[in-house]
Symmetry: C2
Subunit: 349 residues, 2 copies
């Protein structure tokens, strides 16, 4: 598998977007978020998506010259319209507007609608936390195809509806909880199917609503269960709230739309820690809580106790050093795109 340095990889991907008409700063934002997803180990949101985005640009589904619009605002809130621009670009700009508001009135919140894919929520929330804010974000994929059943149901009526909360720490990287409210991600099911493997019990139903461990059953009209197993009403409850914040508070709607255009609805809230406590004291306390959790006696079979986001922070440190492994197929597509657009190729190990 080719292993590519993160800067070189980002430069190539940014070059592809620039060649497709995206302004240089925006191309930098999109490629940075994708490469960061690879760095933290979430490769499903990494450079793999570049080819799809290029297709969406070509099809006019992503508007590379879109400007973020503030459709309505109060001192502490804003409704943003993305004009079908890249979700990454629109969300970065919206975060900056909300951060200014939060510094002024103590907290701020907003919704974004009519934008393309915004990728991992963790990247935005991590950056906000480093700047001394607590960030809460939710997203759905607008009225795209659904994958998750409500608790007690047997058909998909919700997305994997992620919720993300990030908190500043001190010496440690920020606490970043970035979780789907489903019991499993679609990507993991696709991987298991490709490898001919079964998945654990309690994650999916077949099209008749019966429990199954076969990922093939999921792709043949099955559905994913909400987080929590027998307590799945809790995972469903979280998912339902995410749907409301991202789909209804934005005015985008629920269920599946006929046009199927990718439309990431998002809700964001930022809280300025300084309005509650001295930031340095808070950061120190978060570090101490992390130490307290790290020092937990281990359950049999467990290797260590990690805080939310710690695994990703470790992977990032290691891949920054060692480079990012890119699957052969993805690398072939990426380099093909770059060559076709006259973008210089980085060297791969």
């Amino acid at each position: 598998m080719p292993v590519v340095g993160h800067s070189a990889l980002q430069q190539m991907v940014a070059g592809i977007y620039a060649a497709k008409g995206l302004a240089a700063p925006d191309a930098s934002v999109v490629s940075r978020h994708q490469v960061e997803a690879n760095l933290v180990g979430h490769d499903s949101h990494g450079v793999l998506l570049t080819a799809q985005y290029v297709r969406q640009i070509d099809a006019g589904e992503i508007n590379v010259t879109a400007e973020l619009e503030i459709e309505a605002e109060s001192r502490g809130t804003a409704v943003f319209g993305g004009n079908w621009g890249f979700g990454y670009v629109m969300t970065e700009k919206a975060m900056a507007v909300l951060a200014d508001k939060a510094r002024e009135v103590g907290m701020a919140s907003g919704v974004i609608r009519y934008q393309g894919h915004m990728g991992r929520l963790g990247g935005y929330a991590d950056a906000a936390a480093r700047a001394g804010l607590i960030a809460l974000m939710t997203a759905d994929s607008g009225r795209g195809p659904k994958a998750v059943a409500p608790f007690g149901g047997r058909t998909s009526r919700l997305g994997t509806n992620p919720i993300c909360i990030a908190v500043p720490a001190g010496a440690y990287p920020p606490v970043v909880l970035d979780m789907a409210t489903s019991s499993v991600a679609v990507g993991k099911l696709a991987l298991a199917r490709a490898r001919g493997e079964q998945v654990a019990e309690g994650l999916i139903l077949d099209k008749g609503g019966n429990p199954t461990t076969s990922p093939v059953d999921y792709f043949a009209g099955g559905t994913i269960l909400p987080l929590g197993g027998a307590q799945g009403y809790k995972g469903f409850g979280l998912s339902f709230i995410v749907e409301i914040l991202s789909g209804l508070l934005t005015g985008l709607g629920y269920g599946v739309a006929a046009d199927g255009r990718h439309n990431d609805g998002s809700f964001i809230a930022l809280f300025d820690v300084r309005q509650f406590r001295a930031l340095a004291d808070f950061r120190r306390d978060v570090d101490e809580l992390i130490d307290y959790i790290h020092a937990s006696p281990l359950a049999p079979g467990a290797a260590e106790v990690l805080y939310p986001g710690e695994l990703e922070a470790r992977t990032l440190a290691s891949r920054r050093e060692a480079g990012i492994p890119v699957e052969e197929a993805t690398w072939a597509v990426l380099t093909g795109l770059a060559e076709g657009l006259g973008v210089p190729l980085p060297s791969a190990r």
Copy 2:
């Protein structure tokens, strides 16, 4: 089992608190929250707790004349000090301050510290939702005894750390998600032990960190697992965030304090829907989403699909009509307290 009308029950409990020196409006707030917990079917937070609160008043742990203090504030935030008053009274007053701020700047958030037990979060959040606000609340029990292990750990380092989110609906009662981030509540384990029953797999560990279904093992030094089973890192992640918002942003701290005084730390955020969309349109869309979920084809064995808070709303409607069943032991204690304090007794069926 005695069955008592909710108004009569509340009047008796309010009478007990008034006799212990609580001002009439405050006695009304505390008793209303407790009886509402009974009405929605969460009897562990109901009038059962009256005797404990009376003991805490007698021991000086709850200060019946405490006033809510605003220790710090900005346009959109506030830090409240409860001066060891009843959590119910302090939290009601804090909610009112924050609702005013939210109406002014679009949203508001605050923390409360140094207060007694605040009970169910759902009651406050439900009331805020009825007034057109989206409410997010978290709480821990300060530095009281812990019950839940971090994911991978085998000893209790966190509380059951509830998170509550309520959203206005239209014709339906509000959406109220009010969930512990643990896989099971301590009360359910106590009930199973009292009945000599086993609990489901995947909820608790014994003191050696091994999975068990015996509630006796939990009370003999075991621990509760976070929500999510094999995905318990998600439940733990939510719990860790609740600990930070309720324990650290309040400055109260984590872990167990030597004095063991009950000290509910709480974080509250309120969002004014009107700053995002016309409230009537939003309420209509929430109703439609509820209809969409209700219409889900059912999984084998499921009787219906309910939205978060629906079961509680139904129980409330039925108990308002039929009265509240109060266990013999609780009724004996309550009536004994009332008689001793010269409070008139209601009739029970």
